[in-house]
Symmetry: C2
Subunit: 211 residues, 2 copies
DNA sequence: ATCCAACTACTGCAAGTTGCAGTAGATCAT
DNA sequence: ATGATCTACTGCAACTTGCAGTAGTTGGAT
């Protein structure tokens, strides 16, 4: 009895539906797009295709490249059917992991500069990730992308990432401005800034909109 | 030799820095705030405080409540020092898990309605989560919140979640409008919509801004 | 011509994490 | 009086990660 299929299994199956890949190539490809919605380790990307083969959803061919073999995985008809069925099921809610925000939540245990440094790191990370997404996707414009007929999907997918990373950067600016008005990290309670934020929340307005 | 400390350990230590809790209460509290930046299972929230005790960062007291005991964990001075040190370290980049976006990336394996349903689910989830964050935080206004002196942190933290969930809802609207112009999910390549999105990306503008 | 770095292509394993089932006392409404 | 829900956990299998290790290939610098 093979291990059961997880969302990660279907994600790899989705990559195999594009074309056959080796596990190494799957890991490379996942770095370019999949990881922005489904961040998984390289190790797992080596294990998943084996599981797909066990389930009959993919086949493996050992290609010879000089004195070395590499395993190339190809999706089967059963794999395409299984993937099609999965596409009709309901996705899990989104989950965001952001250590920098944990630092904010517990900021009273450090000083203002620790908090500002953590937020700066968050904005820097977001800027770097934004850059990666933009570079990969604008390559569709000059024909430098390997799968031109998937442009409609990749580009729409990328818009979410770009908006998200932009939001992070803009929010960090806002948060830093707020924090710089604090005399300390600890025990402030409802400050003037907190008060006006709460007012905006009650009115259903954005704190990032220009006044 | 006890197991090493993870970010989850420090997150729990951060909760213990507020006040002593039982593992059950830690799990409840984490549901209210921590999970939006560090989503961890209830099971782990039961295991982490034990690890903290092994490290001398917390102590445990077995309280009697009728015929039953409950373990209440309290942070030690060593725990506060350790937490303070952690606050000076650099946080990991953010990571977003969104199964609905995986459906978009591999949408060619399903039909338009599958994709629209997945995005609707994403927007519904975001709306529900937004509502939870708003409810918890506006309770500061009527004094209904248990930790009023942490309002400045909780509310600033919450602004990120609110902006994020709003973004998801607005982006889903945009994405649905785009997808409804597609004749199918498969092989479209660079559509007119894709073209204008790519143009906006090149100009560094947002796809969600009103024209 | 050779040597080192970087890239390709994996595997093993310990440790971290999750989901789920199970146990059991306490509380509250019907 | 009883069933539902809440409190308060534990055990365990399965899932996932990080890291070290192995080894052949390629390309540039010396």
């Amino acid at each position: 009895m093979p291990a059961r299929l997880t969302t990660s299994s279907y994600a790899v199956l989705g990559l195999l539906a594009i074309q056959p890949w080796s596990a190494y190539e799957l890991a490379q490809q996942a770095t370019r797009s999949l990881r922005f919605a489904w961040p998984k380790s390289e190790r797992l990307l080596y294990a998943e295709p084996k599981k797909l083969v066990e389930h009959g959803l993919a086949t493996v061919a050992n290609e010879q490249t000089g004195g070395r073999t590499r395993a190339v995985y190809t999706i089967t008809d059963a794999g395409r059917t299984e993937l099609r069925t999965w596409m009709t099921t309901s996705p899990q809610p989104p989950a965001l992991e952001a250590e920098a925000l944990v630092r904010l939540l517990f900021a009273e245990n450090g000083d203002i500069d620790d908090l500002l440094a953590a937020l700066t790191k968050l904005a820097d990370d977001a800027t770097a990730l934004r850059e990666q997404v933009a570079t990969i996707n604008t390559s569709y414009l000059d024909g430098g992308h390997p799968f031109p007929d998937r442009a409609h999907l990749s580009v729409l997918f990328a818009t979410f990432q770009l908006e998200f990373f932009d939001l992070v950067v803009r929010w960090v600016d806002f948060a830093k401005a707020e924090i710089e008005r604090w005399p300390s990290t600890d025990g402030l309670g409802i400050t003037a800034g907190t008060e006006s934020i709460l007012q905006l929340i009650k009115e259903g307005r954005s704190v990032l909109d220009p006044v």
